[in-house]
Subunit: 306 residues, 2 copies
DNA sequence: AGCCTGTATAGGATTTTCCTATACCTTGCT
DNA sequence: AGCAAGGTATAGGAAAATCCTATACAGGCT
């Protein structure tokens, strides 16, 4: 049994107008179109839907009345699906799920999320943290609407929109001999004990800065979390390199650190948005991205100032 | 925006199989059919539903996931409509509304209705009483599924199924001189005061019995209800003619009446079912009619006995 | 009786759907 | 690197569904 929405529409129109001809006028088609559509339904279902009167329209049989009710329900549901579709393209609503590298998420996402949920209270936002590989597969499989990450190892199916450059800087114990300097050469650091943030992208990037200068770092400690790296540095176990701008330089155990820029404008990392090529952002995603761009503007100013 | 159920079905299949090709196999159509159907939805709605991977199927975008959910809902509703249609042709369920002449209804309907609702507790039965004109228009407009009436003035759109013949008989006051007779000639009654049930069909029918015998009745009183006619007769105001077999002959105020058959097998009234020509009875109606036919069988025996 | 109204049918035109063949791109194996 | 395999989109023509005009047909209305 295969009924078309169109056929049902025609039948409902005929039933409600008690006339095939009036239905045809209402639906802007010819009278036989309505007639044959109804005949088709009757044939498919084996129901007698209409009583055909001569020269005075049609009436619904009792089963026709019952069927019309249900058919009408289905049609309004179908209309609702259409409305739902347009709402998906127009309204900031529903849910929003995106992903970020863990280095960036805690710094950038909370303030924007705060602003966003205040403006769009009915939207369910979820931000996940994952490494670049999971980010990419998550974007490709539609798990995330966009990602906050670096332009590294992204496949061609993903578009990248740069947001802001983060130049690397040195984070040292307050007591470090180099802590008072205005800026530091990468070569000066090579011999010093380093605390390395041991994540795939970070590791490669910071290594590359040394390699570009023809030296190698002296990695004394490795750690897998931002908080741990900062704790080690703050307690005098070495320096580290960062690129994400952090608003405080006090470790979780309460020790102060010093920040010194790297000399010679080393290659910065470019933070940006990864999205699926050819897939339009949902209104919610677009709104969030908009706020995010506004928010990172402040870091741009920092950079141009510095 | 005009989406087809078929297109939605194809999209859902593709989304759930994460593959256009697999969907095509599942739906027994070619792969481009699926592809173009989805493309059509995307074009109509402006949504990006799928992420096309090279050589490894497709994924749903976040909006695609949301849309799929709703589309699936709609499709199950559509299937339900189909199931509903077949249930209308197969199951004794829902509601049943029919109509009867008021002379017949209180005698025939209650016992059958009792039996019916006991067997089909979930069916809502309603029996209305109306004159022949309203019965006919009610059948033609689909208000009633069938009617219990006589084969009189029925238009050709209505089919008539005879159930049982009711021969007319005389109802007299117990004290009436003719009350003790075995049978009565119509001519013997002509001069006697008659109480007439003043309803269109009854009136014409009983009159016609006299006219066929070449005499005219002496109508002393007219009444519009069965109970009133019986009351008048029981209290000695005249005789009356009936055709419906009543199981008691005591008026509402407690007076006994006598029943005497008419001699010479006068033309009986034929009780039967009026239904719409070309419209199949619903299962509920068919079941009720079946019980009704069983029930009236007993009157047939009475007739053949008498 | 004859016109009007309204539905069903016939037949051809148009639009939609469908299929085959093919282009195009990536994955994975050699 | 190159080549086969797997998967989607496109092209173009065939098949099917839909639609329209014209007409048959039948009862209501005057």
């Amino acid at each position: 049994m295969q009924l078309t929405l169109k056929q049902l529409r025609y039948f409902v129109a005929a039933g409600e107008n008690a006339s095939v001809t009036k239905a045809a006028q209402a639906m802007f088609v010819s009278q036989p179109s309505i007639s044959s559509a109804i005949l088709h339904i009757e044939e498919q279902t084996g129901l007698d839907l209409l009583i055909r009167h001569h020269a005075q329209g049609v009436s619904l049989t009792p089963t026709g009345q019952r069927f019309l009710l249900k058919a009408k329900q289905l049609l309004t549901e179908a209309d609702n699906l259409g409305k739902f579709a347009t709402s998906l393209t127009e309204d900031v609503s529903g849910s929003l799920r995106f992903v970020s590298l863990p280095t960036l998420a805690p710094v950038l996402v909370p303030p924007v999320m705060h602003q966003f949920v205040e403006r769009h209270r009915d939207v369910q936002v979820q931000c996940e943290e994952a490494d670049q590989e999971k980010i990419i597969s998550g974007l490709l499989t539609g798990r995330f609407e966009f990602a906050l990450t670096y332009d590294i190892k992204l496949p061609p199916e993903l578009d990248f929109t740069p947001l802001v450059d983060f130049p690397p800087y040195v984070l040292l114990p307050q007591t470090h001999p180099l802590a008072a300097r205005d800026e530091l050469q990468i070569q000066e650091l090579a011999a010093e004990p380093m605390v390395l943030l041991d994540w795939p992208l970070s590791r490669d990037y910071f290594y590359s800065l040394f390699l570009a200068a023809g030296v190698e770092p002296n990695v004394a400690y490795r750690a897998k979390s931002l908080a741990m790296v900062r704790g080690l540095v703050a307690n005098g176990l070495g320096y580290t390199l960062f690129n994400t701008p952090l608003a405080n330089h006090i470790s979780l155990d309460g020790n102060q650190m010093a920040v010194v820029p790297l000399a010679g404008s080393p290659r910065p990392t470019c933070l940006g948005l990864a999205t699926l090529h050819g897939v339009r952002a949902t209104p919610a995603a677009a709104a969030f991205i908009d706020m995010l761009q506004q928010h990172v503007g402040q870091f741009d100013q920092h950079n141009t100032e510095g």
